[in-house]
């Protein structure tokens, strides 16, 4: 039995501000998780409205913390440590969270740990499903798309990823191109339900190339051309055309993820894991057909398919509390000198996707 720790997590690296309380011993329990975003405003724009202002994060972060503590029925006196996202992300937002965390740590004398936002995502399958290392992780969201082999709580090997757009972004932009509302994911999926994916032929970029790297940018351009061809021919887009285009796009994304996941799994199997686990996190994991395709692939390859609930695989602070708590349990913490980092690759050993950097790891 490990000594139990109760961790306060703080996350402000993206559009949302979040705080959470997680209890960690041999298992992990989310006692409270509060996320404040701007979801209502999505529909007005072709994408999510960002919370750019550091000020707005700063205004909300303490409220989030108060609410999370109240939800857990606790005060700061019950907390054993503070975990905060210190990158990667928009620097103003990250700074707000880091400064708040440092302030609380200074005032209370609690230990503080700096957490990589992506490590939070990558460790979520352990928080929710207690999976064992090593496991293969696909992070697939609006801003990210990468395959990681999680070998330990701080050891991640990136074996591939998008070389341009992330699929979530491609869904949003497809929605914009087809005149569908935002956020694009659910709307494109709905339109695709009645569409014929074979009505249009869209490319599968990089599919013929070895490795696990992906490309989605060219797909967007191909969709644009297909749409314009229809508009030129008919003077407009019928609802059926739109559904067909949505279906063709979704199938292309699904095919790319399916094939690249197959290759990533093959690479992962070389580690000879006792139990084969594939975990997926990020908003795109909520797409029905993509999820079904990847589940079928896992079934075929005798691999467990793990998908944390959506509220824990989109941005949240529970994953940050968990990732930080694991380090605290291991006796690690940071001093007050750690900085907010706009760029912070999870795998410092990985070269830039298409070659190697003259400066080594990106900072």
């Amino acid at each position: 039995m490990t000594k139990a720790l109760t961790i306060l997590g703080i996350e402000s690296s993206c559009d949302d501000t979040a705080a959470a309380v997680v209890r960690l011993d041999d298992t992990a329990t989310v006692l409270a998780s509060v996320v404040k975003g701007q979801n209502d405003l999505h529909a007005d724009f072709g994408g999510v409205v960002p919370e750019i202002a550091a000020r707005a994060h700063a205004e909300r972060v303490d409220i989030c913390i108060e609410e999370a503590l109240a939800e857990a029925g606790m005060t700061l006196g019950d907390i054993d440590g503070i975990a905060v996202t210190s990158g990667p992300g928009l620097i103003g937002g990250v700074l707000s969270g880091v400064m708040c965390a440092k302030g609380i740590a200074t005032a209370t004398g609690l230990p503080i740990v700096s957490v990589n936002h992506l490590a939070g995502h990558a460790l979520t399958p352990r928080l929710t499903d207690a999976v064992t290392f090593p496991y293969l992780m696909l992070l697939v969201s609006g801003g990210h798309c990468q395959f990681l082999i999680a070998e330990g709580p701080e050891t991640f090997r990136r074996i591939g990823g998008t070389i341009d757009d992330a699929p979530g972004e491609a869904f949003d932009k497809t929605a914009r191109l087809l005149g569908l509302p935002q956020p694009g994911g659910p709307h494109v999926e709905r339109a695709a339900q009645t569409g014929d994916a074979k009505a249009f032929t869209l490319p599968r970029p990089l599919l013929d190339r070895a490795g696990c790297d992906m490309s989605f940018s060219g797909l967007k351009t191909a969709l644009l051309r297909a749409r314009d061809a229809v508009v030129t021919e008919k003077g407009g887009l019928t609802e059926k055309d739109r559904s067909d285009l949505a279906a063709a796009f979704q199938l292309a994304v699904s095919d790319i993820l399916f094939e690249k996941t197959r290759r990533a799994l093959t690479e992962y199997f070389e580690l000879q894991p006792k139990k084969r686990v594939f975990a997926i996190a990020g908003g795109v994991a909520a797409n029905g057909p993509i999820r079904a395709a990847l589940m079928a692939l896992c079934a075929e390859l005798e691999t467990d398919f793990v998908a944390p609930p959506l509220n824990l695989c989109t941005d949240n602070a529970a994953m940050i509390a968990y990732a930080g708590g694991v380090r605290l349990l291991a006796g690690q913490s940071d001093d007050m000198t750690f900085k907010a980092r706009p760029r912070w690759p999870l795998d410092d050993r990985a070269p830039a996707l298409l070659g190697s950097g003259k400066k080594g790891a990106k900072a």
């Binding site: 993206c14 724009f45 072709g46 994408g47 999510v48 409205v49 960002p50 750019i52 202002a53 550091a54 000020r55 992300g89 928009l90 103003g92 609006g142 801003g143 990823g161 998008t162 070389i163 341009d164 757009d165 992330a166 979530g168 972004e169 949003d172 932009k173 914009r176 191109l177 940018s217 060219g218 967007k220 351009t221 969709l223 644009l224 051309r225 706009p342 760029r343 830039a352 996707l353 298409l354 070659g355 190697s356 950097g357 003259k358 400066k359 990106k362 900072a363």
Partner: protein, 152 residues
């Protein structure tokens, strides 16, 4: 005095890369490129090629759509921005763009969001995704000289 040059045809992504590679070396601190054009017109592809040409290696250049700004450290820092999600020009100041306009090389997608904040000295590149893709340059006269020196 403004000048207009183009359209320069970009039938393939290789042509976009080649154009970016020619422009990259002539850029200096304080240069702002305003990249106009619809989705799929080639703004990010051009930026990616230009950033890689500046850095001299195949850096991972993700789309800045979600992060709004991606910065690259070099002898002169490069800021790659997608302002689509901005709702007010003031937010550009919040991002620190006004300062970056002075000190960095800035590649700005969806620059209409800047309204009056767009520097007068900026070079505008209008990308169009017709068949073939093409781009038109618009900017102050000194850009004509600078681009002329590299036969653009």
């Amino acid at each position: 005095m403004t000048f207009t040059k183009g359209p320069v045809l970009l039938p393939s992504e290789e042509d976009t890369d080649a154009l970016a590679q020619r422009i990259a070396p002539i850029l200096r601190a304080g240069d702002v490129l305003l990249l106009e054009g619809d989705i799929g017109a080639g703004k990010t592809a051009f930026s990616r090629a230009l950033i890689r040409a500046r850095l001299g290696y195949e850096e991972d250049v993700p789309s800045p759509t979600f992060t709004l700004v991606q910065t690259y450290e070099d002898d002169v820092d490069i800021w790659h921005c997608d302002l689509y999600r901005l709702s007010h020009p003031d937010e550009a100041i919040e991002l620190g763009l006004d300062e970056a306009f002075e000190t960095a090389i800035c590649l700005i997608e969806w620059p209409d969001r800047l309204a009056d904040l767009a520097p007068k000295s900026a070079l505008t590149l209008r990308f169009v995704a017709s068949d073939p893709h093409h781009v038109t340059f618009v900017g102050p006269a000194d850009w004509q000289t600078r681009l002329g020196a590299i036969d653009v």
